[in-house]
């Protein structure tokens, strides 16, 4: 059970998220660019402190503005896949993958070599992250996040720089993470295809507010509305 009720102001953008949902399997967080998805993810992981409110997962309180509780990121037991990889440049790929285990003391929820093989990066384990292609880095970061997760995994657009074939295959794998390891995934995306394919439920975020929460099919209509709204927003282009 994930309970969230927080506010956060960033310059002219404000985020106000109220949620109280069960998150087994895959929960998509869906919304247009700049909606606040990444900010939401950072607050959940403890990388960004909300201005006030409360976050708890099952019985564990992550944040409570009134009680002055603010669990540091390393004690929240989440795996996080950043939008920009953030692989450690001074460690090879193998060390990056096993970092959560040897440095973070997280029980490995899978074998490094095995996961590397699944992600097609087993031949890169001794390489430095700087020498990887965009897609290779993305896969390595994904594998690292999965290996370190305890409570749930947050993925911030994990498939955005992968080719179609790989994306297809990784989706199949991501799909199987929750049942295999019993770990829920909070899946941030702006791809309709990924939502319908992967998610059991979807949280729709727009301009910092939750606009809906429920099964992907039920929210489809609402989402359509979002697209047309976007079309209006960027209509300037059609006049060129």
């Amino acid at each position: 059970m994930l309970h969230i009720d927080i506010t956060k102001r960033l310059d002219r953008f404000s985020l106000e998220i109220v949620l109280d949902i069960d998150v087994p399997g895959i929960t998509a967080v869906f919304g247009p660019s700049g909606a606040g998805k990444s900010t939401f993810a950072k607050i959940l992981a403890g990388l960004c402190t909300p201005d006030g409110g409360r976050i708890s997962f099952n019985e564990k309180v992550f944040f409570d503005g009134d009680a002055g509780v603010n669990l540091p990121p390393e004690r929240r037991g989440v795996g996080f896949l950043f939008q920009e990889h953030r692989l450690f440049p001074h460690m090879n790929v193998f060390k990056n993958l096993s970092f959560g285990c040897f440095a973070g003391g997280r029980p490995p929820c899978g074998d490094v070599a095995e996961i590397a093989k699944v992600f097609g990066i087993d031949h890169l384990l001794r390489r430095s992250p700087a020498s990887l292609s965009g897609g290779e880095s993305q896969r390595a970061a994904l594998a690292r996040a999965i290996l370190a997760a305890e409570n749930f995994i947050i993925m911030d657009e994990p498939l955005s720089s992968l080719d179609d074939a790989l994306r297809e295959n990784l989706m199949g794998y991501i799909e199987r993470i929750p049942p295999l390891f019993g770990i829920p995934i909070i899946y941030i995306t702006h791809s309709r295809e990924e939502v319908t394919r992967l998610a059991q439920r979807v949280i729709l975020i727009e301009e910092g507010r939750v606009m809906g929460c429920g099964s992907p099919s039920k929210l489809l209509k609402k989402w359509r509305r979002t697209v047309s709204h976007q079309d209006q927003k960027y209509e300037g282009m059609d006049n060129q």
Binding site: E74, P89, A103, E150
Partner: protein
């Protein structure tokens, strides 16, 4: 100098210099790194004042600084008497030589390290480490330090070089006592003072070749790592 170029006094001076620079190096790492981290992450008045005081030794003429430290730590000084009760005599001991090397070199180490710790790229990767379950201390050693190594090595190089060339503070605090506190730099200073420029020059060449060795080791570490 008793006999030959490498007289026992000279050998003593070389050893003392090596020991004090080495100890200072360890102290830079042990005390300078936490200080640099603190200064880089805190904007508090306290942190800024401390950063200022660490830089101050650089501004003062070494002799004057040595004099002030002498007043502070000497027999009559506020810290001197405390020392006395503990049965320790810092002034005019090898401890004083090490303290001088440390005080002279510290700002050269702390500042570059502090600048490096403020880099946004490093802060992003620290976040990544924290989320992977690694606490702040471990993150510092496994992520921050290795990523800031270029600046840390360059600061270490400057600080140790400065420590080895230190004369003024060492002379005041350490006393330039033969066979006890006369470093190689003080030997050179002594030679210059008595007009013995030839010996000063040969000692300088000796110092330069030792530094060259240290320099290239640190330089290599900095670039290769």
């Amino acid at each position: 100098m008793n006999s030959g170029f490498f007289s026992p006094t000279l050998i003593f001076s070389i050893r003392l210099t090596a020991v004090s620079c080495g100890t200072a190096l360890l102290l830079f790492l042990a005390l300078g790194l936490p200080a640099a981290l603190w200064f880089s992450r805190s904007r508090s008045l306290c942190a800024r004042a401390a950063a200022f005081f660490i830089t101050l030794p650089l501004v003062f003429p070494p002799i004057a600084l040595g004099y002030m430290l002498l007043l502070l730590l000497g027999r009559g000084g506020p810290l001197g008497s405390a020392e006395h009760y503990l049965g320790l005599r810092l002034v005019f001991s090898q401890g004083a030589v090490i303290l001088s090397a440390f005080v002279a070199g510290l700002p050269l180490f702390v500042r570059p390290a502090q600048a490096a710790f403020q880099e946004p790229g490093i802060i992003k990767l620290e976040e990544a480490s924290r989320v992977l379950g690694c606490g702040p201390v471990k993150t510092f050693f496994l992520v921050t330090m290795p990523l800031a190594r270029r600046s840390i090595f360059s600061g270490l190089l400057l600080a140790v070089a400065r420590a080895s060339g230190e004369v003024g503070i060492t002379m005041m605090l350490g006393g330039n006592i033969a066979g006890r506190t006369n470093t190689l730099s003080l030997e050179i200073f002594n030679c210059v003072s008595r007009g013995d420029f030839d010996e000063a020059t040969s000692l300088c060449l000796l110092l330069a070749s030792v530094s060259m060795a240290i320099y290239f080791v640190l330089d290599r570490l900095q670039k290769e790592s």
